[in-house]
C-alpha cells in the first residue's frame, strides 16, 4: 500500500501540468456543487422566512368536541356522530399550560391570542378583517409587527389598533384616525389607529388588525381563555416534532405550520431536487473527467506497466497505483473546490438580508463535507475502469524492442 502510494504520487508529480489541470477541472465541478447547495439552501431559507417567518410555527387549539353518544356500545346500532359546530372551541385553561410549553426545547415564544372575524367601517367604506388580540408585549412574538411598521408606533394600548398596510390603503386610513369594528358576535368597538405595518404577506397586510387582548375579549365575548396559542421555534424545520411533543405532554391539539403549507413544502422539495440534478451532473462530469484522464495515462504508461508486471508486480498493485491516483485527484480537487467555494461565498449577505435582485446564498448550506466526500468516492469510482485496464496490460505485447 505504501509503495503503491509512492508510485501513484510519483506519476502524478511527473506530469505536473496535466495533474494540475485535472485537479482544477475536478475543483470546478466541486465548486458548482457547493455553489448550488448554498444557493438552493439560501432560496429555501429566503422562501421560508418570507412565508413562514411571520406565522406561528405551531398552533395549539382546543381539542374538537365530539358529542357523547347516547347509545351503548353493544347495542348493535350504528351511531352517526355529529361534530358540534355550535360550540366554540376555546382554550379555557391555556394559562396553565404556558410554562409546560415554554419549557419544551426549541420553543422560543408562546403567545395566547383571542382572534376572530369582523368588519371594519369608516364612513361608507366597509372591509372584512381578521382581528387578533394579543398582550401588548407579545405583539411581535409571532409576526414581527413592530419591526415592520411603515407608520406610527407598535404600542398596543387599550383602544388602539395596528393595521396592515394594504388595508390602510384600500380604506384610506392613516395613523391617528378612528375606525369602528364590528365583530362576528355583533359587538362594536371604536379604535384609534396607532400604527400601520407591512409584513410582505398580502393575506396579512390586506386584512389583519391587531388589538389589545382585552379589546378582543370584549369583541368576541371571551372573558377568559384564548382562541389559540401560537408558538414560535428557533428552528422552523422542527415544527412537526415539537407539535407532536406538545400534543403528547399537554393533550392539546397542536398543528405545525407544515400541515397548512404543503404546497410550499412541495415547492421546496422540488427545488432541492432540481438542485440535486445539477449537482449530480457536476459529479458525473468529475467522474468522466477523471476516468478519461486516467485512461489516457494508463495508455501512455502501458510499457511501464508491462515492465512492472514483468518484475513481479501483481495486478492488485497496478490497480492500487491507479486507484490511489484517482483518490488523490478527487481529494485534492474536492478540497480545492470546496475551499474556493467557501471563500467565494463569504462576501454574500445572509439570505434573510438578500436584496430582491441579489442571489440568496446560505454559506452554511454549502454541503462542503458532502461535496468533498462524494468527489473522493466519485474519483475512486472513476479510477476503477482505468485501473482494471492497466492491470490487464499484457507485458509481452507492450515491451517491444
Amino acid at each position: 500500500m505504501t509503495y503503491s502510494f509512492k508510485v501513484a504520487l510519483r506519476y502524478l508529480a511527473s506530469n505536473r501540468a496535466q495533474t494540475a489541470l485535472l485537479i482544477a477541472g475536478v475543483a470546478v465541478g466541486v465548486y458548482i456543487f457547493v455553489f448550488m447547495s448554498a444557493l438552493i439552501g439560501g432560496l429555501a431559507v429566503l422562501l421560508l422566512n418570507r412565508t413562514v417567518g411571520n406565522i406561528a410555527h405551531v398552533t395549539i387549539q382546543a381539542p374538537d368536541r365530539d358529542p357523547v353518544s347516547l347509545y351503548g356500545r353493544d347495542s348493535g346500532t350504528l351511531v352517526a356522530i355529529l361534530k358540534s359546530v355550535q360550540q366554540r372551541t376555546t382554550l379555557q385553561s391555556a394559562a396553565a399550560f404556558l410554562p409546560t410549553i415554554e419549557a419544551i426545547p426549541n420553543v422560543t415564544s408562546v403567545a395566547g391570542v383571542v382572534a376572530g372575524n369582523g368588519f371594519l367601517t369608516k364612513g361608507e367604506a366597509i372591509a372584512p378583517v381578521i382581528v387578533t388580540g394579543v398582550e401588548p408585549d407579545q405583539v411581535s412574538a409571532i409576526a414581527n409587527v413592530a419591526g415592520n411598521l411603515v407608520a406610527g408606533s407598535g404600542d398596543l394600548t387599550i383602544g388602539k389598533a395596528l393595521i396592515g398596510s394594504g388595508l390602510a390603503k384600500t380604506m384610506g386610513l392613516r395613523v391617528g384616525q378612528r375606525v369602528s369594528i364590528r365583530s362576528e358576535r355583533n359587538i362594536d368597538a371604536t379604535l384609534l389607529i396607532g400604527g400601520v405595518f407591512s409584513l410582505g404577506v398580502s393575506s396579512v397586510d390586506d386584512g389583519a388588525i391587531y388589538v389589545h387582548l382585552r379589546t378582543a375579549r370584549v369583541l368576541f365575548e371571551l372573558p377568559d381563555g384564548v382562541s389559540r396559542l401560537e408558538v414560535k421555534l428557533d428552528d422552523l424545520r422542527l415544527a412537526p416534532d415539537v407539535a407532536r411533543r406538545i400534543a403528547n405532554t399537554t393533550g392539546l391539539k397542536s398543528i405545525p405550520w407544515t400541515e397548512k403549507n404543503e404546497q410550499l413544502l412541495n415547492g421546496l422539495v422540488a427545488q432541492a431536487r432540481s438542485g440535486d440534478v445539477i449537482k449530480g451532473f457536476a459529479l458525473v462530469t468529475i467522474v468522466i473527467g477523471v476516468a478519461s484522464a486516467l485512461l489516457l495515462s494508463t495508455y501512455r504508461r502501458q510499457s511501464e506497466i508491462g515492465i512492472m508486471r514483468a518484475m513481479g508486480a501483481t495486478r492488485r498493485f497496478v490497480v492500487g497505483v491507479f486507484m490511489i491516483q484517482g483518490g488523490l485527484i478527487g481529494l485534492a480537487g474536492g478540497l480545492l473546490g470546496a475551499g474556493l467555494g467557501y471563500l467565494s461565498l463569504l462576501p454574500f449577505p445572509l439570505p434573510e438580508a438578500t436584496s430582491s435582485t441579489g442571489l440568496p446564498i446560505a454559506i452554511g448550506e454549502g454541503a462542503y463535507g458532502t461535496a468533498i466526500l462524494l468527489t473522493f468516492i466519485g474519483a475512486i469510482f472513476a479510477a476503477i475502469w482505468p485501473a482494471s485496464a492497466a492491470s490487464r496490460v499484457d507485458p509481452v505485447k507492450v515491451i517491444g524492442p
Partner: protein
C-alpha cells in the same frame, strides 16, 4: 558422481499465434534444459522466436502445449497470481529497450522488484540496490532519474535490477541490441563477470555471433526447435 538436476526443463514446447484467419507456429516441439550457473546464448535470426521462448520461460506467456518445469514447479497449470510471485522471486529480466521506469531514479528502479513484493522500500533493500549499482559501475548515478541515463547505463541499471531479488535465472532479450559497440561490450562483459563471480544463470538471446561466442553454451533456434548444439 554428482548428477546435477536441471534448473529448468521444457519439453515439446509448442507456441502458435492465432490472428483470426492466419495461424503462425513459432515454437514447434522445442525441448531444452538449463542448469545452474550456465551462461547460455540463444541464437537465431530475427523472427525465429527468441523473444517468444524467453517470454514463455519468464512466465509472461503461456505455451500452446508442452511441459515446463522450473525448480520443481510445474508452471503450465499455475494460476496467474502464482506465476507473478514466481517471476518476482526466481526470474530477472533485461529487455532490449523500454527497460526502466523513467520517473524513478536508478536506485528506485533497482529496488523495484523488492519494493513491489514487500509493499515498501526497506533500508536493507536500499543498501543491496546500492551495492548492485556499484557492481555495474553506476554508483555515481544512483540518484539520477532513469530518463537522464544513457542507453548503456540504462541497460546496466536493468541488469542490476534483474539481480535485485537474487533470481535463479536471468533472461536477457537482446540486451545489447540497441547499444553502440562499446556500450554493448561493457554490458556483455558485465553479464559474463556476474555469471563468473555470483554463478547467476543467464539466458541471453542475440543474433550477434560474436556476442554468442563469449558464452559458454550456444543454442540455436531453427524452425521452431533447437538445432544441434555446439559445445
Amino acid at each position: 558422481m554428482i548428477v546435477d538436476t536441471p534448473l529448468l526443463i521444457v519439453t515439446d514446447l509448442v507456441k502458435e499465434f492465432n490472428d483470426g484467419e492466419t495461424s503462425t507456429t513459432v515454437l514447434n516441439g522445442l525441448s531444452l534444459s538449463l542448469y545452474r550457473g550456465e551462461l547460455v546464448a540463444l541464437l537465431g535470426p530475427s523472427g525465429s522466436g527468441k523473444s517468444t521462448l524467453l517470454s514463455i520461460l519468464g512466465t509472461l506467456m503461456r505455451p500452446t502445449s508442452g511441459r515446463f518445469e522450473m525448480l520443481g514447479f510445474n508452471l503450465i497449470g499455475a494460476r496467474d497470481v502464482d506465476l507473478t510471485e514466481f517471476r518476482n522471486q526466481h526470474i530477472g529480466f533485461v529487455f532490449q529497450a523500454h527497460n526502466l521506469l523513467p520517473d524513478f531514479t536508478a536506485l528506485e528502479n533497482v529496488m523495484f522488484p523488492a519494493a513491489t513484493r514487500k509493499g515498501r522500500e526497506t533500508s536493507v533493500d536500499r543498501r543491496r540496490a546500492t551495492e548492485l549499482l556499484d557492481k555495474v559501475g553506476l554508483a555515481d548515478r544512483r540518484d539520477f532519474p532513469a530518463s537522464k541515463l544513457s542507453g548503456g547505463q540504462k541497460q546496466r541499471v536493468a541488469v542490476a535490477r534483474a539481480l535485485m531479488n537474487s533470481p535463479d535465472l536471468v533472461l536477457a532479450d537482446e540486451p545489447t541490441g540497441n547499444l553502440d559497440r562499446e556500450s554493448a561490450r561493457r554490458v556483455m562483459d558485465l553479464l559474463i563477470d556476474l555469471n563468473g563471480t555470483d554463478g547467476t544463470t543467464f539466458l541471453i538471446s542475440t543474433h550477434d555471433e560474436t556476442i554468442a561466442g563469449q558464452c559458454r553454451r550456444e543454442i540455436r533456434l531453427l524452425d521452431g526447435r533447437l538445432a544441434r548444439e555446439r559445445h
